[in-house]
């Protein structure tokens, strides 16, 4: 009884076998992902309901203490917001005139692609990759609710990210602030396309990187940046954020700089998923 576990295979052999297994799975997932997807979905389905409940519990317990601290902040904010309201009311009357004009134009061009008209589904955030390396999170809706991979996720009036994996009752969203995220975007004024990509180093200051802007371009600080119509997955016209600063690159051909996103990624609780997928022109046959 000296050997407590009575295993026949020595530990090193076991390590070697398991290593081979996982390497095989890793390779398999590149070529034939349906097998590994089934495994992932199975584990996901088991853990999902627990996550949903516990996440609500966690936020409930700590929201009490937070609400007291938030009260003082809210009072200050109230004063500021009242001023803002007055300005906005004036703006509203102006924009109402514009809206009437726009509607006539839109009817004229049958341009019904504004994102207010996309069909949307609301979802709760139920889990987050805890490390600071990756910015992906889980939502409590999945393929059963009509969600699919590559659907666009928005919140607070701006772009949040894109669905990278979907299970029957949950889905994983990669935020645009993730280091591996790249979006084709454009400036609302000049309509020039360029790339907005996530960068962990810049995100420490709450910013994203903008790259490959033409040197002659007139894009400058404060410009409104939206998703481009030529992006392969992102629907066009969704607000990403505002340009912070722009400078000419050392290659003297392009400009790059930083962008401030409109969404507060640290405090996401509910998001909207646009259930319309972008028409990528895959149906064209040569």
């Amino acid at each position: 009884m000296k050997d407590r576990f009575n295993f026949r295979i020595p530990a090193k052999m076991m390590l070697f076998l398991l290593t081979l297994t996982f390497l095989a799975l890793l390779v398999l997932s590149f070529f034939k992902s349906s097998v590994t997807d089934a495994l992932q979905n199975g584990i996901n389905a088991a853990i999902m309901p627990m996550q949903k409940g516990l996440n609500q519990l966690g936020s409930q317990i700590f929201s009490e203490a937070e609400s007291l601290a938030a009260l003082k902040k809210a009072q200050e904010e109230n004063v500021r917001l009242k001023e803002q309201l007055a300005a906005l009311q004036e703006e509203k009357s102006l924009s109402q005139q514009d809206k009437y004009e726009l509607e006539t134009y839109r009817e004229l061009f049958k341009l019904d692609q504004e994102y207010s008209q996309y069909e949307k589904v609301g979802a709760r955030v139920i889990g987050k990759d805890s490390g600071k390396w990756f910015h992906s999170f889980l939502i409590d809706k999945g393929s059963d609710d009509g969600l699919a991979k590559d659907m666009v996720v928005i919140a607070q009036g701006g772009l949040v990210g894109i669905i990278t994996a979907v299970g029957p009752r949950s889905a994983r969203v990669m935020s645009i602030i993730d280091d591996e995220s790249n979006i084709t975007a454009m400036s609302e004024n000049t309509r020039e396309s360029f790339v907005v990509s996530g960068d962990l180093e810049l995100y420490e200051d709450g910013m994203l990187r903008v790259m490959y802007i033409d040197k002659e371009s007139e894009i400058g600080p404060g410009d409104k940046i939206i998703t481009s119509n030529i992006s392969s997955v992102y629907l066009p016209g969704i607000l990403i954020g505002y340009i912070d600063e722009i400078a000419v690159d050392s290659n003297n051909m392009t400009k790059s700089g930083t962008l401030i996103p409109v969404v507060d990624f640290e405090h996401l609780e509910t998001v909207l998923v646009i259930t319309t997928l972008k028409n990528t022109g895959d149906d064209i046959i040569e």
Binding site: L15, T19, T36, N55, K132, A165
Partner: protein
């Protein structure tokens, strides 16, 4: 004998699932938690050190599969690194004494640092993000400190659970032999 092993296996899985939910569903919901300790690393270290390479590897594989299926992009990325983490901690089983938390603390710190470097190299360095200093100061080291501090509390709990399971196993085995 099979039933006993199964019970121990289920015990390990239960502890891991609880830790996983704590790490990824409860703690991130708290707004002032900027850095979340890596509880899975603590659990793998604890099981490896307490019970040797087999249980270390078991804990590593379960943690890895969980992380891979919920947050990973490919099955195997976390599984592999956690498997080796469990094995290496298990090898250090012979240096481990129940009343001394120094070894677990060092092992846990090193493991988390290793995990950080693994992610940095495979996910960032390979995409031409060279600034290791930034990633070390902002991602790896803060998380390591938080993990070690949380580990000081969690180690005692996991060691107790593990001792209980071992005791149960021994009692049963003497009863039936």
């Amino acid at each position: 004998m099979v039933q006993l092993k199964l019970k121990r296996f289920l015990g390990v899985v239960l502890v891991i699932v609880a830790g996983f939910l704590l790490q990824n569903s409860i703690l991130p919901a708290i707004r002032w938690m900027i850095y979340v300790p890596n509880i899975l690393v603590i659990i793998i270290c604890a099981f490896g050190l307490c019970s040797g390479p087999y249980y270390g590897m078991l804990a590593g594989v379960v943690c890895g599969l969980l992380m891979d299926s919920v947050f990973g992009y490919r099955i195997g990325f976390y599984s592999l690194v956690f498997l080796y983490m469990g094995y290496l901690n298990g090898v250090c089983h012979k240096y481990f004494f129940y009343d001394n938390l120094l070894i677990p603390t060092i092992a846990c710190g090193l493991s988390d640092f290793g995990l950080g470097c693994y992610i940095f190299v495979l996910h960032f360095l390979l995409r031409n993000r060279m600034n290791f200093r930034f990633y070390a100061m902002n991602m790896i080291l803060p998380e390591m400190v938080f993990t070690i501090l949380t580990g000081l509390i969690l180690f005692r709990i996991i060691i107790k659970i593990n001792a209980k399971m071992e005791e149960l196993e021994k009692r049963r085995s003497t009863k039936f032999v």
